[in-house]
Symmetry: C2
Subunit: 299 residues, 2 copies
Amino acid sequence: MAIIAVGSVAYDSLKTPFGERERVLGGSATHFSMGASLFTKVNLVGVVGKDFREEDIELLRNRGVNLEGLVQKEGKTFFWKGEYRENLNEAITHDTQLNVFAEFDPVIPESYMDSNILFLGNIHPELQLKVINQVENKVKFIAADTMNLWINTTPEQLKEVIKRVNLIFVNDGEARLLTGEKIVVKAAKKILDMGPDFVCIKRGEYGASLFSKNDTALLPAFPVEKVIDPTGAGDTFAAGFLGYVDKYGNFSFDTFREGLKVGTVLSSFQIEDFSVDRMRTLTLTEVENRLNLFRKFIR
Amino acid sequence: MAIIAVGSVAYDSLKTPFGERERVLGGSATHFSMGASLFTKVNLVGVVGKDFREEDIELLRNRGVNLEGLVQKEGKTFFWKGEYRENLNEAITHDTQLNVFAEFDPVIPESYMDSNILFLGNIHPELQLKVINQVENKVKFIAADTMNLWINTTPEQLKEVIKRVNLIFVNDGEARLLTGEKIVVKAAKKILDMGPDFVCIKRGEYGASLFSKNDTALLPAFPVEKVIDPTGAGDTFAAGFLGYVDKYGNFSFDTFREGLKVGTVLSSFQIEDFSVDRMRTLTLTEVENRLNLFRKFIR
């Protein structure tokens, strides 16, 4: 089993109420790969510049992440400068430099085509569609993440993505924006009407829900005591969710229900430190222990 | 078994995105009594004016609510005019006329003293303390609700209340305000250090959590599809929670865990219509059915 992860690989300069970091490893494909590689094989697709550090390549390689689809181009790596203030659910962007990412043209290597799942990180819907065109009918399950920007600027392409994926990840604000429906469960149903089999609504520190035509799963968030940097929490949530699903190899709602719990717990670790730092040392035993505690809290 | 409910009995003029109502029945003791009377005997303590309608007396009496502690005084009933806009979790107050409530001096009738539980609705902490002084060592369990206003204006009296009750209800904003702690689970622990056995944190459409020194219960909200008027949701949540606990007659954490679910489901009905209108017709069978659905969603 394996998951193809397509998205940004970036350097982030971050400021949170708990500290600052300059040019640390980030990006949706990076965060997803660091999380999912705890559970399964990850085949990464992305682009970096000549400034991309060898130690960051090594980090991913040591996690068993397949980097055949990571292209290194002339120029600089995608750079994001962001800040979180009081509301840790909301990032304030100070600077975005697309750099080599501006010409990102994702090509899925032939050797990736026996993967089970495709995860499309939050990138331009046109790029997501390009990837879908390459792997449709080859992978068994396609999941995509998105954001407000694409709902506002490229709604038609985004709707085409939503129609063609099995699962779409949105947060509750995005679900409302996408459908014009204030009540989240109604918004979820309207998104299901757009074509996907599942809608996963992420609510940050308030938990997550999963909707299909016939089933609903609701989960509170893990009651974290330490929050240092929320960057990558959504990608890590998706990584735990899909990593678990891929490891257990079936797409039943009950497996997804467990996957939601794994994603919730994995992202509760992610936010405990800057960048990918918590994921560097996190063990499956730590995940299992917190998962058992979480199961006790919600039983 | 029985619960003493002390709080406001009021007339509300309400505006929500879904309509308006003039001078409809409201108040914390009213909402609590309407909800809890589905499960157990309620002994109400409150004050109303000469304008209080006979039909509203009848409504409560027909639910089996004991009105021996409801005093009728010269003057007008407590009046609140409020509005909810986009954010249904936040009420905007346009007018508050305390009227006879300004001189509310809660006296617990002797016949109420064999009650199991005392619920103190959101009123001035001085009044809550007056009631605690009368029933301490007589009832088995004391629960209190509060609000931002008292945290800001009478923090010392409120802390005395919190010290002397078994359970305090707060929302997450209030928990943060009360403790200066941003992370909710840390705020809950700080509140436990103030003296109560349990802290119940209500998060509106995001669910509820219960904390004791040794246990934690987390619950997402019921995914409501119909929201007309959020007024009274918190009191109805407390009513379902305490009503269930009183009906089952024990104060174990596992009973409380179930009580949280009942409170969540009961308040999901409350917000489906203005004032107490949904509670007028709600049956225990409807509650049971939704509770079963909720259990399926969160299993």
